[in-house]
């Protein structure tokens, strides 16, 4: 019987056609939905090998990994009527393949719809905030509010948004030049201030130094005068203590010394003949 050879070939061909129809391999990175003539039967969220009815059921796979929804940069109006170019992106993943299949079908379409939703929520949010808040303080708060705002809407597409972030918030090109002018003026102001502060510090320091120098000298002069006064006082007291012993003798002795000093060679004096000094000129005996 030679029919086995053809049978074998038929079996192989059959297997080659049917096996892929029966088995569905869902990867770690995928979600899948099994549909029967377009009618969703079940959704598959974990990876592995699955079996379906061949030819009747078909499997549609979706990306399970975290998706990037990158919105284009847009010029938005803030609550204080200023314009900012804001570039935002959202991250989210398909969590409900059935909903996703029914409402969106492809990641490409999901991307444009999510971006639209995020953009409109962002526009609404930005319109309520001041430019300065968007630039600095409230950025994270705005991001969280946009995220919480789009979340329920996007959830209806079977997608869970986990993060919305402002990638860039820049001044429009038209404003940039006036920003530069403002920056220049501000720098000029700072430079002027620095130089003036330098002059201030200089003047102050020199004045302080001069004052201190005068203080040091006058303090020394004061102490010097006090010391000299004390010296005079000490001298007086030392003299007095000593001379008090015999004031009369001091007067006598000191007067003699004074004679020695002020009677110099061209002094002329007149002495009476009966002075004690000449007592013995007249007679050798003392007269009284």
């Amino acid at each position: 019987m030679r029919i086995f050879a053809p049978l074998l070939i038929i079996a192989l061909v059959f297997a080659a056609i049917v096996l892929p129809q029966v088995f569905v391999v869902v990867d770690e990175t995928e979600l899948a939905i099994i549909t029967r003539f377009g009618d969703p039967q079940r959704s598959i969220r974990s990876p592995g090998l699955y079996v379906k009815t061949p030819f009747i059921d078909s499997a549609t796979k979706f990306e399970k990994r975290l998706l990037l929804f990158d919105a284009p940069a847009e010029s938005l109006l803030t609550s204080d009527k200023k314009r900012l170019i804001i570039d935002v992106y959202a991250r989210g993943r398909i969590t409900d393949p059935l909903l996703f299949f029914q409402r969106v079908r492809s990641v490409l379409e999901a991307r444009s719809r999510v971006i639209d939703i995020v953009a409109s929520e962002l526009r609404r949010e930005i319109a309520e905030d001041l430019q300065s808040d968007i630039i600095s303080g409230k950025r994270e708060e705005i991001e969280n509010q946009v995220r919480d705002g789009v979340r329920p809407i996007v959830a209806e597409l079977g997608i869970d948004i986990i993060d919305v972030r402002i990638k860039r918030a820049d001044f429009p090109q038209a404003i940039a030049s006036s920003v530069y002018e403002r920056m220049k003026a501000e720098r000029q102001r700072i430079a002027d201030r620095e130089r003036a502060e330098g002059a201030e510090a200089d003047l102050q320091k020199r004045a302080e130094v001069d004052r201190e120098s005068i203080e040091i000298r006058s303090e020394a002069q004061k102490n010097s005068d006090i010391i000299r006064g004390e010296a005079e006082a000490s001298a007086i007291s030392i003299f007095a203590e000593s001379l008090e012993q015999d004031p009369e003798f001091y007067r006598f002795q000191r007067t003699l010394e004074a004679y020695r000093i002020f009677m110099t060679d061209n002094t002329t004096i007149v002495l009476p003949a009966d002075s004690d000094l000449f007592e013995f000129l007249k007679s050798p005996s003392a007269s009284n």
Partner: protein, 349 residues
Amino acid sequence: MYRQDDPEVNLEQILERISNFFKRFGLGGGGSGIVYGLLVVIVVGVIVWLGTGFYTVAPAEVAALRRFGIFEDTAPSGLHWWWPNPIGNRSVVDVQQRRRLEIGIRGATPFLEESQMITGDENIVDVQLLVQYEIKDIEKFLFRSVDPAGQTIKDASESALRQVVGARGIDDVLTIEKEAVQVDTKELLQQLMDTYETGIRIAEVKLLNVNPPAEVQDAFDDVVRAREDKERIINLADAYEEDILPRARGDAQRILQEAEGFRAQRVNDATGQAGRFTSILEEYRKSPEVTRQRLYLEAMEDVLPGITKYIVDSANGGGLLQLLNLNNGQTPLGPAAPSVQSGPAAPNQ
């Protein structure tokens, strides 16, 4: 259906069953060559297919292995075997290489659109950043996020950097807060990488360049010059202080030392003279009358020799007239004139 057994054993069993199957229909041994030929083709095909399951992992790499889409295991470097397609999958990733991402610059070319950003005080600053990262969790890296090492980390880096810079003034970003910008950006970026389940570890975030935009560079440079001017002037003032104050202190010392010297001199003088007086007085008291005479006479001896003297006799009356005459006269030693003068009075001279 898929079986857990070793593939070879599995194959032999299958071949045996097929063989038995054929034998049951009386085809054993003498049967058709085509059937066996086909069987050989199948067996060879299966062996070749299984052979494609051998693979090598280079030293720095790790392979992530999937079987029917399920992540099962990782394999380190070396020669391994894993189920080939369509049963198994393997993805090899370099986990040791430190990868680089540049923001605001590509090699040496600045990328202004990325690098220019707004600071918290609404100025524009030019920031170039280098992010270095490694893959720490291969499962997350491969299966949890789309393009983790591409758009994901790039967007997140830009966003993190701009948020961090946007929270600071331009002066801080340009100077003292550089370090803080790096630290905060790294922390925020790592947080985002974890939120996005990228399996990426941020190794380093480094600011390559932080500058004011070229349009305002001159103005910023002028501020730097102004600060230098200020420093210079303050230095000069300090130098003035260092010159003047030590001199003043020196002067003060001189004044004080002179005063101290004066005091010592004055006190010494006084003490000396007082001592001298006391000594003389002591001796004088022992014989006052004689000593007094002696002192007087000695003094007179010392004083009188060199000077012009007139001795007038007090017994004669009008010595004064004669005295006046004598004053006008030239001869010093004239005749004695009577005088009432006593003591060492020097009249007009």
